[in-house]
């Protein structure tokens, strides 16, 4: 199938034309809400992590990453004007060359004037893009994020394997995909490490998973990895959950581990399947995948939880036939047919692959426009990092 998208000035491909409002600290949240209200294609994100700069490097990286996302055609950053995290710092971290405007409330003369000014800027950006048409692009420029949630035992035998089957074909065609949740790879280390493209990547996977396990298993601190929904759905241990979850990455080589740190949110280089050193927390994960440049998300669920992203059109794959029936207004793919015996994993994989291409070309998945558009991030506490792993050089 021919792919058609919006070619950005840096050569990246947007599969949607959206505009992003960034509040560098949460004090401007109300202003952003007012600016975005009249527009259907304007998303706003606000950092809720306060305005100090030192220790907030991951906030800046995530904001810059979202601004760089190829689905974003233009960016307006709003600040009060006195924050430690400066909009200029976010702009400097950006690697794309799209239009960016910065407005400071205290310089412009208050909330109402800022709202009016920002809306004018967005209208101008939209006018500039009015003649933008979809043009052909190669599958090697498509990056798909993978996340599962609301998992039950169907996730490991239907939902995730069918996405894995689609991913094998997608990777063979030179597509790129990113899965994450290193803590939910525990028990699956062996299965992942043997897929590493080379010894360095094998060591990177091992190291990444071990560090994440260390962060989450501090003696004396009880944390829950198996939530009641997982257990009610038949999953018993973290190993079982992990082994089921990593099926979504298919069986092809793992091209690399993408860094997620105070230094950077790494974007994939060559096409292939990547593991992001991110998190299993769903909204956070959505932010990081968007910040790593994914244009699309595939969300795999067992209980039918319709978790998606406003920035990345989201294909929802449901492995449980009962949940699918109950929630089919939100579910795009019925992988529950594998459970009932009506379809094979490969047949559902084929349907998913076709859906990836049609969504890239503009078809709206069922939850598009409704989904998550906040700014939850996995902000590793720099104090804990230092205590666990020592001071960074």
């Amino acid at each position: 199938m021919e792919l058609k998208g919006f070619i950005r000035s840096d050569g990246k491909i947007g599969i949607r034309n959206l505009y992003l409002l960034i509040g560098v600290c949460d004090a401007v949240e109300g202003i952003l809400k007012h600016i975005s209200t009249p527009f259907e294609d304007v998303i706003f994100v606000t950092s809720e992590h306060g305005c100090p700069a030192a220790g907030n490097e991951q906030v800046v990286n995530n904001l810059a990453g979202l601004a760089d996302n190829p689905n974003i055609a233009g960016v307006v950053m709003i600040s009060m004007g006195c924050e430690g995290v400066r909009p200029e710092t976010v702009r400097e971290k950006m690697t794309s060359h799209k239009p960016v405007s910065i407005l400071k409330v205290t310089e412009i003369g208050g909330s109402t004037r800022t709202i009016r000014k920002a809306q004018e800027i967005i209208k101008d950006m939209k006018d500039q893009n009015a003649s933008l048409k979809r043009e052909p692009f190669d599958v090697s420029q498509l990056v798909v994020g993978l996340k599962c949630g609301g998992s039950d035992t169907t996730s490991g035998i239907a939902g995730n394997p069918s996405v894995g089957s689609a991913m094998d074909r997608f990777i063979d065609m030179s597509g790129t995909a990113i899965f994450t949740e290193p803590i939910e790879c525990i028990g699956g280390e062996e299965a992942l490490i043997r897929r590493a493209v080379n010894e360095k990547v094998a060591q990177d996977i091992k190291h990444t998973l071990a560090r994440e396990e260390k962060r989450w298993t501090i003696p004396g601190v009880e944390l829950e990895f198996m939530c009641i929904g997982n257990v009610a759905g038949g999953l018993t241990t973290i190993e079982e959950k992990s082994l089921g979850a990593i099926h979504k990455s298919g069986s092809r080589k793992i091209a690399g581990v993408l860094e997620y740190s105070e230094k950077m949110i790494e974007k994939p280089g060559q096409p292939g399947m990547y593991l992001q050193d991110g998190t299993m927390l769903h909204s956070h994960c959505i932010t990081h995948l968007a910040a790593a440049g994914c244009q699309m998300l595939i969300f795999i669920t067992g209980n039918g939880a319709p978790v998606g992203s406003r920035m990345m059109p989201t294909i929802t794959v449901c492995g449980n036939p009962l949940s699918y029936e109950k929630l089919k207004d939100d579910m795009d793919i019925n992988a529950g047919q594998i459970i009932t015996g009506a379809k094979t994993v490969e047949q559902v994989g084929e349907i998913i692959l076709n859906k990836i291409f049609s969504v890239a070309n503009g078809e709206q998945p069922k939850t598009e426009g409704i989904s998550y558009s906040g700014f939850s991030i996995y902000r590793r506490d720099p104090r804990l990092e230092c205590l666990l792993f020592g001071k960074k050089s």
Partner: protein, 120 residues
């Protein structure tokens, strides 16, 4: 959930549990163990009711024995398990990050599992 025959998926030849694809409503039901290629490997008689999506034991296990699914170890038996028994948090424990004791008790009660855990 019930899809005609009582079937359970065995994901890998080395596995000693299979995932039930329909509710096993009582002890003594014959469950068809289906390989992922769709072939039927054998039948196992259930020792208890087992809800859809849960695991049935394909053999007899002693406490401490590894439990295999997807061809990988998913934990250890926390007590002996008979062939045909429901395998869940009351008799299978993670070897990596076990469910905290307080949460485990709550979950066992909420799920109406056959016996309390005897984790010591």
């Amino acid at each position: 959930m019930d899809f005609s025959d009582k079937r359970a998926f065995k994901m890998h030849p080395d596995d000693n549990v299979a995932t039930c694809l329909s509710d096993i409503s009582c002890p003594g039901e014959e469950v068809q163990i289906v390989n992922i290629d769709g072939t039927i490997s054998r039948q196992v008689r259930s020792k208890s009711a087992i809800p859809f999506g849960n695991k049935i034991s394909l053999g007899c296990l002693n406490a401490g024995d590894p439990v295999y699914k997807y061809g990988h170890c998913i934990g250890g038996a926390s007590r002996s398990i008979d062939q045909g028994e429901w395998v869940h948090i009351h008799n299978l424990e993670s070897r990596r990050i076990p469910i905290p004791e307080g949460r485990l008790k709550t979950m066992i009660a909420m799920l109406n599992l056959p016996e309390m855990s005897i984790r010591e």
